[in-house]
Symmetry: D2
Subunit: 364 residues, 4 copies
């Protein structure tokens, strides 16, 4: 490894001249500088730096999944990087508490000077959403509209172009589809599965019917929900029914990919599934953390503005709350437990299958 | 201070014989013990211990507010204890991450043995809600019903009795009503306020109308919302209109109390308002933390069960998400910013008023 | 309030062109870009942004304390801003976990290109230390030396100039000295105090002597420590002894200031002391958080480098651990509990004194 | 899966009658109940519940490692459970902030009634230390002595018995020793390694010598440290030198185990090493979190008591700080980076070796 030839100085290396001079107060242009506008700017800059980091990790993961196959080494690196994203998200969520040290009155001292800037104009956040898989077709109507119209032309076309590239969601879907593990000779896993779910659903029905703490109305309600669950199970293994559910939006992954993911969840302790299971779990957590961030962000905006309009001319918190649930990308993994069977309801894997799923080397 | 006469031993003092022997696995009664049921039990026991601590602090605060007046020393103690509750809530929210280390499949290994136990049966959590101010009349219909029917008779009547006692919400409302600070001779604050809000609303209207990044539809939508805000302002200082809004549920505090709270927020830097402002801010945060807890809890339940029914025979996460927003107690403080004016729109307080709000001793 | 005349765009407002283009990899100059160097740069940039924010708050607090007196409004604002610093410090401490997602091997892939840059060259961190009160004379020898020699001339003279300006520590010391509250007619608090401490120390001696779980060696050790405590108490009210202890470095505040701080702690529930007590508690927490940061930072460096040298050519973690304890600024507040008496050992304040410490307005 | 035959009620299931009645105030026996003693008790009870959970996980991991070999499924489960311990530790560290809401004065209101109880008497904490690997021989002298003498006879003999059983440290050491992966035909990894380290150390020496920001004294100091590092490297591959270093306490793992751990760290991205690497990383983090806990705990005790003696009759914080560094169990993993080589200094693994380290199934 060569060494650097020119000595490096901390401040130069980090570009601190640029970073630390990039806080230009709007309030200072029109009145005396508002003390708290500095916090407002710096919090947002920190968010953008972290977004850059997340996008950097994400790009490398997308690249790994764009190839024809994902090697185990590559998957291991991807899991490592997704875990880093998760740690960063924890910080993103926690640092809302710093912004919340700004009282609504302090915010009012410079809010009016920011019109019509808005967090909706964060290109990196939109990139993050799109790259993860939140393309326009999945957005709610209001979001679809307003998504692009607030942006300058250059930014808009950049993002529109990004929409045409494969997202992580799409790449993971393809990768799951390629899994060769669902059917083996002499071992029809899905028949076992079908039988076991029948038993489980029957037992769930009994739990509801025997529950004396429920009123009749509640019981009817619960049985209705059970029927929905039964329908979901029925759709799982039936191509046509599956398509219908997918159109309704209740599934986002295609059938083959969902079944592969389910198999990984069911047999997660098999060595060969260990990394894939960790990978899917990471995606689930990233989605969950993003949802928590949306929710807490909406609360923060509400606390800061009440029903006042935001600087972008819209009451942000209403919109933000709407997108909290709708903008979930990997919700199929999140809902996976609907279809999971307890370990003792699962068939044991035949020896030859088990062997195939292990390492070449025996364990020590 | 006397000393103890019998030496104290750590384990005895903490009752560890009781605490550490209270983990009885249901799975062990019917099958081999499920490893993860221990986690399930201990997490819930930790929650209940913290609930006990929160209730202990809450009881002392309620007691302080039940008297005819709240001394400054008492208020100082209350703020200190509310801050403790807030720190505990942070832990309650963070420790969801521990429960989330249990995979859905691990949960399935003992779920069926717990029927029909349910977190809805936590008496301490219900006590907490009721004591804060979430009495039956404020609950959504489904919650009203199911609230009591899952409980054993003794618990039910205990809680129903608690509903008849003054909640912290009610006591704080009375305390705010007693504030003598709203009108002074020669200084009609509320007239100033009225004029200033007219100006602000007019300016907000212009912001919307001049915002070219909004489509016509969006503009109409924003203007409609502005009208709602204008109506809210109009109701603020008009007894009859206020009553109507209160009936709709948009205000929970009565008019006099809300105005007092607003005044405290507007002049929070006056020494006499420092503690009251901290007190109201604590209540706002407690409400916010409880809402975050409800939301994260709902997510955790969804991740664990998907659309499967819970042990109590209902799909918990749907219910939990419904109550996230509806069960907010101090939302008037949370929405207070709707009515706040920027500092430079506020009239300066006359010298005699300012003096009245300060200390006897001058500052050093 | 005027509005802005030129519309603001999110990315321009935040200077994102500068912020997001300031990640120049050293590795890219000499080899293929090291994936993890981006993390290394961004984490440090985020730290520097937060440092800027902390320095911004600190500057406003120092300004408030530079005047002849600190009004209650000003003190209230200072407490608010110190609390903000505390929240930021929590984030600074937590985000070490993000840096720790970089494995030692990943760090090795670009470490050699950074020579001789070092975190010791962070001007803002040094500013923070000096402004809080860590001037050269308080630094340990190694730190004194290396402090300046790694810096470029301009930075060095900037910091040396800063050393000549009053630090927050010095300003707070003066403010405490000005407190008029220590002696009142007809009420000699310090005589009461002296008597009460005698009783307490006698009781502590008995606790040790009667403790049968201690070995003789341990008992001797404990009694020796008690003698130190007795000596500290003796020094507290004796000018000459106090000076000696101060020279030894065990006290940093002068006697008058320390006694004022002690009085505030003893009667913290009196309205007039409420804010001063919060203020001193904030300083204590800031010091504690900085100490935790130093400790965790040292651990992280050790984990990353083992006993390898750092990029600055020194094994950072040894040095960092040394400064963890020595570089504490407000340790007198941290050790305050040594001198605190239990409430029931304290004399009640006479009515006239109590009245003087309250508000003009009676409580409601 | 059978269902339960007797319906389960939340409070009964969790043993809440025992849990919530186990808060017996000592202050109430001798004076009026101290409000904050409830917090003191509950915080400790929560700690003990979490300790129980950690011990439960630890027991299952120890059991898995006691067998003749550790299957990959078992290792996967162990990693999962270590990650759970890590999450719990985060909570343990964070909840110190709850205890810190108790002011020193509040603590003084009941401290004297607790004599001579002490946190040193927590049997579960001692179990945790011993089971992880902190047996008596590794404790510092003071800790060795005081460890047992404060305990009742039954507890003492229970722990002394535990010392005779294999700790996790010992079991992991054996497991690493069994690793067959260090030498392959036609591939002498350790010769490569030796050569590469020579180059690295030479380069480090140049970095120091060329660093003009260091004074002569500093340079000498750094070169002295480099010599220590060189000696450590020399010891690594030399049985006799290794033994000497081990006696000095700088290594705790035996040579073969340390080399195996080093190999795992160097090639962590190979599929077969993925889980072992995660496993060792978890142990490193558990050790780090425990160290942070010790440090923060010591700070908290200092803040609460200053130099006053604790209830157990000793000034806890001095002792606690001493054990912070000395009581580290897996410090060899923590210091592993000393011996790590950058990826580009490592020899590529031969194809046949690489194949052996992969899965039977090719990647998808």
């Amino acid at each position: 490894m060569k060494k650097n030839t020119t000595p490096v100085y901390y401040g130069d290396y980090l570009g601190l001249d640029k970073i630390l001079s990039a806080q230009k107060l709007q309030s200072a242009k029109y009145a005396s500088p508002a003390h708290d506008e500095v916090l407002f700017i710096i919090v947002h800059q920190v968010y953008e730096l972290w977004f850059k980091q997340i996008l950097h990790e994400l790009a490398s993961i997308i690249e790994a999944f764009e190839g024809e196959q994902v090697s185990d080494e590559a998957l291991s690196t991807c899991v490592h990087r997704l875990n880093r994203i998760i740690k960063i998200q924890k910080i993103l969520n926690d640092q809302i508490s710093v912004m919340e040290t700004m009282t609504p009155q302090e915010f009012l001292s410079f809010r009016d000077y920011l019109v019509p800037a808005s967090g909706f104009q964060s290109i990196q956040f939109k990139m993050l959403e799109i790259k993860l898989g939140l393309k326009s077709k999945y957005r709610i109507d209001f979001d679809k509209q307003s998504f692009y119209q607030r942006l300058e032309e250059e930014d808009r076309s950049f993002l529109q172009d990004l929409e045409t590239k494969p997202s992580l969601f799409e790449l993971v879907e393809s990768w799951l589809e390629r899994m060769p593990l669902m059917e083996f000779e002499d071992f029809n896993f899905w028949q076992h599965y079908k039988d076991a779910t029948q038993t489980m659903l029957k037992s769930d029905r009994e739990i509801i019917e025997d529950n004396d703490t429920l009123s009749d109305t509640e019981k009817r309600k619960e049985l209705k929900e059970l029927e929905n669950t039964e329908a979901a199970f029925a759709a799982l293994l039936d191509k046509d029914k599956y398509s219908l559910v997918m159109e309704s939006g209740d599934f986002r992954l295609n059938q083959r990919a969902l079944l592969a993911a389910l198999f990984i969840h069911q047999y997660s302790e098999e060595p060969v599934f260990n990394l894939p299971f960790q990978f899917l779990t990471c995606l689930t957590e990233i989605d969950e953390n993003m949802t928590i961030w949306r929710y807490r962000h909406a609360m923060m905006v509400q606390r800061m503005l009440g029903t006042k309009i935001g600087t972008g001319g819209s009451s942000g918190h209403e919109y933000l709350k709407k997108t909290t649930e709708s903008n979930r990308i990997f919700k199929d993994f999140f809902n996976m437990s609907t279809f999971l069977l307890a370990k003792d309801c699962l068939p044991s894997l035949p020896v030859n299958v088990k062997k195939m799923l292990g390492f070449s080397l025996s364990s020590i």
